[in-house]
Amino acid sequence: MVIPDGDLRAEPGSFRDPANRVFHAGSDVLRALDAGAAADWHALAGTDFFPALMAEGKVCGTELVDPAGPLPSDGGEWAAVLRHERIPFVSHPYEWSFAMLRDAALLHLEILRTALAGGFTTKDGSAYNLQWRGVDPVFIDVGSFAPARDGEPWAGYRQFCQTLLYPLLLQAHLGLDFQPFLRARVDGVEPEQMRRIFGGARRLLPGVPTHVHLHGAMQRRNAAASTSDVRAQLRAAGYSRELALATVRGLAKLVGRLDHRPGASHWSDYQRTCGYTGQDRVAKERFVADAVTAAAEPDLVLDLGANDGRYARLAARHARYVVAVEQDPAVVDELYRGLRADRERRILPLVMDLADPSPGGGWRGVERAGFAARAARADVVLALALVHHLAIGRNVPLPEVVDCLTSWCAPGGRLVVEFVHPEDPMARRLLANKPDGLFPDYRPEEFERLLTGRCRLVQRLELPSGTRTLYQVMVGG
């Protein structure tokens, strides 16, 4: 295949395994393979299990492209190129809810179990091997498959513990939200950290004695032993593929039993308590539907402050993909479970505080792209009942709120934004926690001036209750 110079961009998150590297060329996602990885790919494509996993949607769609054509000339010694299905919106594990991380972990283990039975393994076990198509997890790291060697344990076990199992244990056993742990360290939670958290009687909780304490102790005792020596010793002692399979089955059983169901939070009852009248709701739904329909089947709708997903679901009827962002992990978890139960496949729910969106992470801060870099291409941005939380609740200056919301729209994209007047009961509740006169600019006229100064007003609607105004504006169009 011919890749024009300058059109090829190396994916910053794909450098750890030198045997292969992901590139973007226009809208194509390509993976270049060295000679060894190309041989592994041909063997993998010839198995029964791999095409079946792909057909079930569990592994991202992958095909070999023109093996004789020119290859990416980035200095790598590439022997073949694969083309992958495009994931509609890339997300990171610290933006997932508990049930999302658990389902992702279970899929990883299912893929590994299937691969082991077919004579293959995965070279790693990272949560970053997984992405989402709506609420369906998908394994994206096709370069991770390699023929299994008899007598070798799973090389990805430590990564699996650090980025999947440990975060799940923290939330299921202790009710600690795992997202800050994963966001803070790209390699996840260390056994040593876990050992300190799970002291006393906590050390007896399911999965903790072995995968945390024993694991940590083994790491300390064998810190000086090389992995190649240990591999040889294990092989000589009779470690077998059946044992590897038994370990994976045990992990899947443990992960499948982990659950976390928090009690109701402030946000989980927000739709019922947020003070809308029935008339307001009907008018608001019609306004949002009109805006999404006007965008003519948008590729990407961002619903910011999505809460229970009411408007994300409405948008999904007219859009190809909706990303529903909500700061409360418990609310996102409920939304995820609800969407799965309803088989709604076009909405990706994500956990994120919009006043503190995901920064870039990993090597040079670009290995895991920040939210702004991924989001700034939305055809429609919904910001319903959000502005007062940022402007009053978090003291973000009103012009900055408007700038931020418009920055996530593609040129010609639409922003649907609700302004809650200072007299509204919900705004009054927030204002009551701040000194009088702190937000003199928080007025409908000022908000409208800022909005229309930056964008073209398409539609404006005052809700029947008289304390909320909806705007549809076109950004840069």
């Binding site: 083994m218 992995t227 240990v230 010793q233």
Partner: protein, 48 residues
Amino acid sequence: MHLAYLDAGSGSLIVQAVVGGVAGAAVAAKLYWRRLVARFRRQPTDQG
């Protein structure tokens, strides 16, 4: 060795034997027994 781009961690490899049930524990016990024997075998030679 194409599988080893990742440092799997020596302890993380051994613990997988231990968590693999009775058969796994037997493998781990054998590994440690062999290490012990190797140490005793080596010592007289070192001293001699």
